[in-house]
Symmetry: C2
Subunit: 440 residues, 2 copies
């Protein structure tokens, strides 16, 4: 009888992999549920990815947009956090494999995100790094700042021009934000800090294969965004598909842009969760989940966020943005609680509250259903939304303060070149080799 | 005649190497002097070294204690900043060699600082990293935080204890500050964030070969500091000389402390400036300068800060602290201006305004001549002095805010493990190998 009681009182084990927006909201919404939860992430921090470009362009510090996962969830007694890298799932034994350990689960939630991808051109990674992690961001910051430093001491005019040319590939929200932020960095924050070069002469080129930027937005907003970018001094090249990236620059069909700094914002590939599960995925590696976000044939396994392919009422796949991941995390929490109670929940439905993208100081676009907003008002909405959704009061406050400060002064307080120590000596001074070899 | 005029109007070239406290104050005090100044540093930022231990222990972010050199000096039109690593000085041709370039000077000021040193035990560097740069600090932060993460998933009790033991070698101000800060991190900030371990059980051991900590202070203050450390839970071992460091721990003669995290705060060695100059140095590599801080036989070359051996009126060598470097930088600026005017200045004399060391929240010691202060008052003085001397208003304000915040909440906002991306995959999870190999 004792054994039965023990058996009955054993709580279901929920393993959540990934402490992004999806995994974290699932974890939080299970706070009072009768589960034993293990949240596994390969980093010790939750990252507020929408502001990552601000770290890459020296506007914010890493700690401003990242919070220790343990700290966010320290009050949640039914949950433990594990720092570890998941490498597979044993569906038969219901175990997650992380750092060689096996972590058993009754329910599994995978929110392992996406990584930038080069779709068959992985060799471009060394020349056109992307932006998905804090380490990506500080490496990109180093690269951008070193380009100005090298230009300052460069005697050859062609090479100087090449160093002062920044090509951003991809005209989605990330590409637009990065291009706008580099333009502001060069034309305002750095303007008077050099003697041999004028950073205001830097060329920032945004390249997009489609005929407009910000494809998810209405055409009028795409046009407004392009106009704002051009006002900031960004050259926007539309309908221009990249055919090659190298240390020297970017090839677009017949034309070539000489540039030492190239930033990849053109595409992402889902995490390998689909492979771990042996599940069907779409071209971007996203798992084709059922209407309740579970994996076909495995009702105990859920996939959410950037790793899941979920269609809306119109048959369009939901975009890889924070609100989608967050709502999916909340949904899975509800679904798990319902299942424990023997209830079922209806299919997941995304509630679209609108989309926002920022271009720069006082410049943004926003779309709420049929309502479209541009300019300062859109930017104010964007700032409030982003500060509001930042995890942790301290970060919100510090970010708000930093923004207010840079808004008033045009300063960028986080212009640090770090990580030079860990580079070989011959690569420290922003030599061509360093600019090449970042992706290591 | 034209040639004469050109010759006459050619301004003297001043090259300053190192933008630490010494180099920076020399540069600033020459702002209105008729020189053309080049300031060379291998980093793009001035670092407020006295607060580096706060970054290593997750209290502050790198950007809080570092400012871009260009930005600090952007208004100074007679100066240009060069990012570069100096590797030698050609005294005959009066040229500095930086990144293979030759930068000519009429006057040279070397303020190239010091680096931690192991005095014949360089193999200890891998196991007992020191703390001199921002990269040192973020690497140490990663190491400390990973030790707790590993302990959380470690099943073996001995290994868990070893992971939760932190040995700080050296009882000078840095060692005392680091030991106190780790104790506060473990016993307050992390206290409720783990499930399998209790961070409050972490052992923090401060090892000092001399019979007391904080040797430059009066005995009563050394005793007060030791008492404060012990109140914070730090074990202080005096008269204990380290005979070996390894991945497993620290050997002190016959006894052995098993520990996975060892921090070196026991000694520094001056930069190789003495070697570049072929000048006479003391045992710590400091150049024996003349009373006007110039190098014997080379009145046009000055050495300041941690790289110079300067004795005070009692024959004691001045310590490697910010006020000494700062006053020396100011002195050299005055001396150069005087020489241009054909005047001479009297020998350098250090004005000692007192010394301060902090142990932790509300705990510090201060000594102003015969006046000795301990406890909260000393800590308040220490906080005010450090915030006041931070470069740049924004940093001062952000640091003050962060301190106020952590004082009220015991939080540590910068608990980020970064740089995992750049480690090989098998080293990412804080495996023993990572803890070993940090010094790379």
């Amino acid at each position: 009888m004792d054994e039965t009681r023990i058996h009955q009182s054993r709580k279901s084990q929920v393993v959540i992999v990934g402490a992004g927006f999806g995994g974290l909201s699932a974890a939080k919404d299970l706070a009072k549920a009768p589960f034993e939860i293990t949240l596994i992430d390969r980093n010790n921090h939750h990252l507020f990815q929408p502001l990552l470009y601000q770290v890459a362009t020296a506007g914010l510090s890493p700690a401003d947009i990242a919070s220790p996962i343990r700290h966010i969830l320290s009050g949640q007694r039914n949950l433990k956090v594990m720092l570890g890298e998941v490498t597979g799932v044993d569906l038969g034994r219901k175990e997650v494999i992380a750092d060689g350990r096996r972590v058993p689960y009754d329910y599994l939630v995978l929110g392992t995100g996406a990584r930038h991808a080069y779709f068959g051109h992985d060799d471009w990674a060394a020349f056109a790094p992307g932006l998905k992690t804090l380490d990506d961001a500080t490496a990109l910051r180093r690269r951008i700042l070193l380009a100005f430093e090298r230009a300052e001491t460069e005697d050859n005019a062609d090479e100087r021009a090449r160093l002062l040319t920044f090509v951003v590939i991809g005209g989605g929200p990330t590409g637009v934000e990065v291009a706008g932020a580099i333009a502001e960095l060069a034309k305002r924050a750095l303007a008077s800090d050099f003697r041999s070069i004028d950073p205001r002469c830097a060329r920032i080129i945004l390249v997009e294969a489609a005929p407009r930027v910000l494809a998810p937005f209405d055409q009028t907003l795409s046009d407004a965004a392009r106009h704002s970018l051009e006002q900031l001094g960004v050259e926007v090249q539309l309908g221009a598909a990249v055919t090659h990236c190298s240390d020297d620059g970017v090839r677009l069909g017949d034309s070539f842009i000489p540039a030492r700094t190239i930033i990849w914002a053109a595409g992402v590939m889902a995490s390998p969760a689909g492979r771990w599960l042996g599940a069907e995925t779409d071209r971007a590696g996203r798992v084709k989940v059922r209407a309740d976000l579970s994996v076909p044939g495995h009702p105990e396994v859920f996939v959410i966020g950037d790793t899941a392919a979920v269609t809306d009422a119109n048959g369009t796949i939901l975009p890889g943005i924070a609100p989608v991941a967050k709502q999916q995390g909340q949904y899975v929490a509800r679904a798990l609680i319902a299942r424990q109670d023997g209830r079922t929940v209806r299919a997941f439905r995304y509630r679209d509250y609108g989309i926002l993208a920022t271009i720069g100081r006082s410049r943004a676009v926003a779309q709420f259903g049929k309502l479209k907003v541009t300019g300062f008002l859109a930017w104010a909405l964007w700032s409030i939304a982003h500060v509001y959704f930042l995890i942790g009061f301290r970060n919100r406050f510090v970010v708000a303060l930093n923004w207010a400060w840079s808004y008033l002064t045009f300063e960028r307080g986080s212009r640090l070149i770090t990580g030079l120590d860990t580079l070989p000596r011959d690569k420290r001074q922003g030599s061509r080799t360093e600019l090449q070899s970042k992706a290591s």
